[in-house]
Structure formats: C-alpha cells, structure tokens
Symmetry: C2
Subunit: 156 residues, 2 copies
C-alpha cells in the first residue's frame, strides 16, 4: 500500500529499534469476560502525553485520510474496527504500521508526516491528541514538512 | 430497561434542566465527506475535564456493565457503534440516557452511580476518565454510594 522505507537496509531492523523517529507501537491491555472486552490506555503507563482532544473516524473501504504532520501535537491512533494502514514518515525514514486490533496503539510524535489508508468495509479509528484543534499546528505541504524536520526543536 | 426516574413529575423537565445532578448530554461535532465521518471532542469546548485514561468496551448484545460510582473521577461516554442505555443516578434522581450515535457524548460527574446496558448485536463504547485507574475511587456498593452522596464534597 505504501513504500515501507526510503532508507533501505539489507536486514530488517530489530523490533526495539525505531525506524521512524519516535514512532512506536503501544500495547493496550485487554480485559475480557462474558460481558465483552475492555481495552485501556492511561497517562504514565502506555499513553505518553495528556490528551486534550479526541476524535474518531468512521471510514469506508479504501478511504485515505491524513497527509499532514503536526508541528507540536502528539497523537495516539487506535483502530477499533476494521483495518488502518498508517504511513509514518520523519523526513528521513518512513514505515507502514498496519493497525487491525484495538489492543494496539500507534504513537506519533510531533513532526511525523502521516497518511492513513482504510482497508476493511467498515473502519473506526480513535485518535487522541495532546492539543486542542489549531489549524496553525498542521503542516499540509510535504516540502514544508521536510524543511520543518531540518529545523531545531524548541526547548521543552 | 431501567426506571426513568424516582422523582416522578407530571410534566417532563425542560431539556436544559438537569434531572440527574451534573449529568448532561454533549454534542460532538461531525464532519462528513466522501472519506467518512469524523466526530470530535476537546477540552474547553465539549469535554469538561482533561482525560488521563481512556478505555473502550466491545460488548455483546444484552451485556450489562458498570454498577458503580466514582468518588472523584469525571467520565465521558460515547457509543461508537450499537446502542448503550446508561442509567445515571445521583442518589436522589435517576434517568436513562440511550446512546445510539457517535455524535452524542454523556458526561458523568463524580458521585454518579451508573449502569450500562448494551442493546445491539455489536456495541462499542468509548470512555474518557479524568484520572488514571485507582481501585479506591470506585464505589461498588449502592448503600455506600448513598452514604457518599450525603457527605459534603471536598473544596475544589
């Protein structure tokens, strides 16, 4: 669906190595019984930021969304139903992460270009973001994104 | 499914009147196009607390969950798929809120006894909570809950 990496390597990276800067898969513990399954994430455990915005997307098959980066916002993506292939790109390396289960989260730090492609007939994606909506935080032009990745980050 | 109120009134309360203390329905704006629908909530707009925990429940038809209150935690419930009837009870009044659409959120303040009953063949409920998991915040006994509701609240 997407090219897996622009920085080709003859051997796959070990799983603990981040191929795309800061991007990582996060496990969401599942608790199941006859009443169904519960999946959980929380700040300080598996959610590396405090969310101030949430949104969820109900997407049809073959829909593509995203194609932007955030200057400052952190995000966590969880596919609650269906399948979502996420291209993540830090300006040097890129990789595709295929989310197919609600026990997987994908953390995207600021300055990550991301594209989501939905693969099942019915798809639900939950996104938690560290900041409220601010159009100025979005970078929608890929060349501008590449210039941004070359700038030093603000002191934290 | 649940009794609608213990404090009966000959006329329904106007929509702006809270029948159950602090509980309220919240609208989540929907943005739709050919790529699907996006629903959003954020702190300072329609989310009256900063979440530190999220969980989602994949529940079969006729499952019942909840049956507890929280001492301090605020919660927001959103039914992403299916149907969830939420009994909310403040110790004096109770009401049932039927969540059937992802553009509706239900805010539950602390000290609200709540029971969720799932009505569709497949149900997904998202819950955002103001605090990380703490077993001491749960009140699982209804009589203890009633005693709690008679105690003064801590200064904010």
């Amino acid at each position: 669906m997407f090219s897996s990496s622009r920085a080709e390597s003859p051997l796959p990276a070990p799983p603990h190595v981040e191929r795309v800067c800061g991007v990582r898969c996060v496990s969401l513990p599942r608790f199941s019984d006859s009443r169904g399954a519960l999946f959980v994430g929380e700040v300080g455990a598996n959610l590396p930021f405090t969310p101030r915005r949430f949104f969820f997307i109900d997407a049809p098959a073959e829909a593509t969304r995203g194609s932007h980066a955030h200057r400052e916002a952190h995000q966590m993506l969880v596919c609650l139903q269906g399948c979502c292939a996420v291209l993540a790109d830090d300006g040097v390396n890129s990789a595709e992460y295929v989310l197919t289960s609600p026990d997987q989260g994908l953390y995207l730090p600021p300055r990550t270009w991301s594209v989501q492609h939905y693969g099942a007939p019915h798809n639900l994606l939950l996104v938690l973001a560290s900041d409220v909506y601010d159009p100025a935080d979005y970078v929608n032009d890929y060349e501008e994104f590449l210039r941004l990745t070359r700038q030093p980050r603000r002191a934290g």
